[in-house]
Symmetry: C2
């Protein structure tokens, strides 16, 4: 055992150290002209101010949750929750820091070297800090939880020996509860980062576009537009900090749900009808953690294999792919070795437990990776203008905004089927291979090289920001061209990343849901007989109500963005009117007031949706009990997956449809034509859908299943319905 | 028993006779000026031509299905299917006929009498023909099926005596299968009527609006717009024939699912753990049919209570409400008596079976009615400009089309929660009262006064058409004002009607789904132990794939509408350009070519979505078996309910938001302002959502569950997965 825990801390520290090296190696670069320094400072200040405020709000909410957990669940749970929250917050904070340092340095590298390859290196180095921190801090936290509570305080031995840990309310508080709480800590931070960041970035973006582009016909990032700086701040707090916290949470969720399931299997020793040995079960508990650690080491090598090259090529797509494929390939090789090392030593048991023996968890993990890649590719098909759907959408713009919106909605809706077929096949396949533990392994596989995925994803917004700074600093066209090339590659990687994000969220949630179902049924019950029966009206009613929740939540988020964007529109209109000479470029806009509108809007509007996600399942549980909540989780997961795919692909296609028109590919309907105006409407409608709603839905389902898993111990014993039923009988 | 069957045929013939009386009483009225006669003829011709073509297509598909049913299921099933299809087709056909007769007579009554009250009477009389035919033909078909197959051929006795009817393939072909096939016949017609009609009407509407309103700034129904006649034809084939077939199908679905469930209960004798007596079970089989018959008699009285009045008041809202409340009130009273008559005679058994004894089925039915009314009221809250949400939406138009669309999407999404909470409560409540039979009773309650609901709903499009004819015939403002008043009342009733439609579809489907679950599990298994287990990966994968289906289906429909609308746009643009003097009112447009575009588009585009709904569950079943299809039904039902509410309310709110602006309520942003243009964009986006997608989704889930119920006997025995698994073991 200790060897695996050593592996975890080794991988974690390796990643964090490498992140630190990259951090300082980027930071020591030159920032460029005075104007560039000034703009970068403004962006940095805006991002810092927002994230400080945001973290203050979150700290208060987190403290309240920790106290409640301490009282109701266990002090170990409360501590694990705090550790999780700190790790997630730290990763988001450092990622945002490095993003606001590297943006201007990317611009400056493009300006001084005029080389795509050198610029790419700086941008990817910046991105790698975020990627490495996400995985590094996640594993550091897991290490601490396993070390302190699992081994130090003997909770793992309790599980192994069948000792029931009871808290002072008489409820069970075993190791699985402690790791659920750790996972919850990460979820809560992720929720606020995603929702807050998502509202911020899109309020600024929509505000900037609605007046700047549509009314005043300014270009993107025009320095005369007062909302431009806020828009760039938004990229950092939304696309960087938000994305990082999101994927950290998925990563932790995937690892932990496999571990929780293993804990539950301990008390049941049955997986799909197959009875396990206790010694074998311990292996199930350590496999996911060790797999993640090896995956992280593979990622460090993968990232280094690109960054340590003396000279990068001029093909960013290829360079990033090398990183990704090296990371994924090594993860697969390491994983195979691990699977053999852990399960191969007792081949007979492994064959009894899994369809294909010791290699089964590995096959399930690879299945997860394959599903993630295919889902990403499908997302690219539907959203890239190299393919038919987006081209058709772009052509619809000729007939005006109404048909653009209509066709985009149709595209998004149609695009739900293909990824879901892949998801369904992966669920069924991984189950056949490894039972419900196999489903967790598939999630694990998808997320095992998250460090590289996030690095590649973060490089996009950094390049986007670099382009903004170039534009606002009046640098020559060549600079902007380099950053635009990087940015456009970033758009493709982002589309694939979104496919991965929703795929992994779905798997992690299903895995959590399985744990949930186990945890409220008595251990004597065979896993195959656990009954989430649709003839049970509580489950059915729960599923229907649960399915409405993602819609309700999305509606709230869109409204929040629209509300803040409307304020922004008014402010920008006011400045154009009142600041004399602004539109002629003779006066400076008041960017601070726009930053403040975005910040205030996001901080104010993020609370209700985020808290709804947290509180809804708990309150439902206390009223209608555990079965109803089981139904809610089922319904919410299903409808959130659809909505996330729908919003992500519709939004992406509108965005790229607009870009397709801007390339001049449709003759007679180029930039500035009515068709382009219609396409801008589509893009604006899609903005909050793809960047606020879609990503937040990933977290919604994870946080709901995590909090239900934590709270079920309480509400399965104490709920209103049982009490009333008790009165009648 | 025979007394109840007598009741059914009595009610059916009463309704059909009253419909015939009203039909001829409307038809004998004057049509008005030559111009009016001419326009009405054109509309009638367009509608007839389309529906003849449509029925030809459907006849071929129906014949194929009937042959397959005859071979695979039973000849009784094939005959019942044909009876169902004929009844549904007849109701749709007659309804469309009377609508195209009454529209011009409504206009003429307004023109000659200049009285709202007299005009209302003609419009409502026209609508009542449709309403009475829907319920009358549905019951006529049920009477035939019960008489011929149930009693005549002894299928009911087989059920009672536990005789297993086997077809020549060795599959079970009992009475429940025969009535499922009857239901399927109604579903298939409804599907094509709804989808075909929905595409037709919205292609014409969008085409007329996109060029006429947005580009040429013509008013609604302007005779210079070549697409105006097609738009009016669309109202008849979509809103009248489509709606009628849809509600007939829901009505039959609600009655039949209760009956099917009763048949299944015969072979199990258990409902929620309670064991039934066989004598008691027979009552369960006859209660829904008798309840529906009494409901129809109540509706005849309710409709007559308005139509037979010498003098109606000038308040159409009140007059229609009188009809509705008399029908609903009498249904409730008759139902209570029936419940006592059927179940009260053996009070002990009833108390053993149901929570509150003999009155329980009645309580569940009333619960269904209440849920339907509340869901309708919620729809009105979200879509009427008397309330806050639509007012806010209207104000967003000031900031342009992008925010209008965004806010509308948010409104639609948020509006999913409230109706679903009502639905969940009704499901849980009706189950508590009467087990899964209770859920069927709730569906029954909702639909028992369908004759009046459809009459009131049909009166709307008739008035709308009458207004169009007035506009196109250059009649004076006063006529148009009368029809507009009638039309606006129609909009409110339509919103409530949509709530009813989705609520009843949900209930009918859940009820079908329960029957489905029963039908593929062995009779020995206790109902409470039937296992639709989410830990079963086939169910889970099925639910996720199933949830994608309504999205995919909706995407296809929207695309179909957009495609046809684009052709229409081109044709209208062409005519404006090529026909000299058209815009100045000196030349006539070529309306026939527009009618032909709508017809061709609808006929071409309706096949794939409609057939997808039919074939998808069957193919899935033959590949992955009955459990997977169970998952699909669950997922599809849940996501279709959300999408139907979302699209219905968003579309309704956009429509009324536009109307709110047209009233001039927002100062400085009235008709013709940029805000109004933005609102028109919202309205146009909403059109296919609320009138094509939403209503079709209701049928999608019903047809899927019906066909699965029919096919499950086959694919639960023969499917690829079982075969492959067999090879491996």
């Amino acid at each position: 055992m200790s060897i695996f825990l050593g592996l975890v801390i080794l991988a974690s520290l390796l990643a964090i150290c490498y992140a630190a090296i990259n951090f300082y190696s980027v930071k020591k670069l030159e920032e460029g002209t005075d104007r560039m320094v000034e703009i970068a400072k403004e962006i940095r200040l805006g991002a810092n101010t927002f994230i400080n405020y945001e973290y203050k709000v979150v700290a208060i909410i987190g403290a309240i949750i920790a106290v409640v957990l301490g009282i109701v669940i266990s002090w170990q749970g409360a501590c694990a929750f705090i550790i999780g929250a700190c790790m997630s917050a730290a990763a988001g904070y450092i990622g945002m820091k490095i993003a606001t340092y590297s943006n201007v340095r990317v611009t400056n590298t493009a300006r001084t070297t005029k080389k795509l390859s050198d610029t790419l290196k700086v941008a990817y180095k910046g991105g790698s800090v975020m990627g490495l921190c996400v995985a590094g801090f996640a594993l550091l936290g897991i290490f601490l939880v396993y070390l302190i509570f699992g081994y130090g305080l003997g909770q793992i031995n309790d599980v192994k020996n069948g000792v029931e840990a009871i808290n002072f309310l008489g409820l069970e508080a075993p190791f699985s509860m402690t790791i659920s709480c750790y996972s919850l800590g990460c979820s809560v931070i992720a929720m606020f980062n995603r929702v807050g960041g998502g509202i911020y970035t899109k309020a600024a973006d929509m505000g900037a576009d609605l007046v700047g582009k549509t009314e005043a016909h300014l270009a993107e990032d025009d320095p005369r537009n007062p909302a431009t700086i806020a828009d760039n701040v938004g990229d950092n707090v939304g696309d960087v900090a938000g994305l990082g916290a999101d994927l950290l949470e998925s990563y932790v969720g995937a690892i932990m749900s496999a571990a929780i399931l293993a804990c539950e299997l301990f008390s049941r020793k049955v997986n799909g009808g197959i009875v396990f040995e206790s010694a074998f079960l311990e292996k199930l508990l350590i496999f996911p953690v060790a797999f993640a650690a090896l995956g992280l080491i593979a990622c460090v090598i993968g990232i280094a294999s690109t960054l340590l090259k003396k000279k990068l090529s001029d093909n960013p797509h290829m360079e990033l792919n090398i990183s990704t494929w090296v990371s994924a390939g090594l993860t697969a090789i390491f994983g195979l070795a691990l699977s053999y090392y852990i399960f191969g030593s007792n081949a007979k048991d492994a064959y009894a437990a899994f369809k294909f023996g010791w290699v089964s968890p590995w096959i399930a993990a690879v299945l997860g990776v394959a599903a993630g890649i295919i889902i990403g590719a499908i997302a690219e098909y539907y959203t890239s203008y190299d393919f038919k759907p987006t081209k058709i959408l772009a052509k619809a713009s000729i007939d005006g905004p109404a048909l653009t919106v209509t066709q985009g909605l149709a595209l998004g809706m149609k695009s739900c089927m293909a990824p879901v077929l892949v998801l369904g096949a992966a669920i069924f396949g991984s189950y056949l291979i490894g039972g419900i533990y196999g489903i967790s392994c598939a999630a694990l596989g998808m997320l095992s090289f998250v460090a590289t995925t996030v690095s590649v994803d973060t490089y996009g917004p950094i390049s986007d920001n670099a382009g903004g700074i170039a534009e606002m600093s009046y640098l020559d066209e060549g600079v902007r061209k380099i950053t635009d090339t990087l940015d456009s590659v970033g758009n493709t990687t982002a589309a694939i990343g979104k496919g991965f994000a929703i795929g992994s969220a779905a798997f992690a949630t299903l895995s959590m849901m399985n744990s949930y179902l186990y945890s409220y049924t008595a251990p004597e019950i065979d896993a195959t007989a656990i009954n989430l029966n649709v003839l049970n009206p509580l489950i059915l009613a729960g599923a229907i109500v649960g399915a409405a929740l993602p819609f309700f939540f999305s509606g709230m988020l869109i409204e929040a963005v629209a509300k803040a964007a409307e304020q922004m529109v008014e402010e920008v209109r006011r400045q154009f009117k009142e600041i004399k000479g602004l539109l002629e470029g003779k006066a400076m806009p008041d960017t601070k007031s726009c930053i403040s509108i975005s910040s205030q809007g996001a901080l104010k509007e993020m609370r209700v949706p985020a808290l709804t996600a947290l509180i809804f399942p708990v309150i439902s549980g206390f009223i209608f009990g555990a079965e109803f909540v089981g139904g809610i989780l089922l319904g919410a997961t299903i409808s959130a997956i659809m909505l996330a795919i729908f919003t992500g692909n519709a939004g992406g296609a509108w965005d790229n449809g607009k870009k397709y028109i801007e390339t001049g590919a449709i003759k007679g309907h180029g930039k500035g034509s009515p068709a382009h105006d219609a396409a801008v409407v589509g893009d604006t409608v899609g903005d909050p859908l793809k960047d606020t709603v879609g990503p937040s839905l990933d977290i919604l389902i994870k946080i709901m299943s995590t909090i239900s898993l934590v709270a079920v111990a309480v509400f399965s014993k104490y709920n209103l319905l049982d009490w009333i039923t008790g009165l009648f009988n």
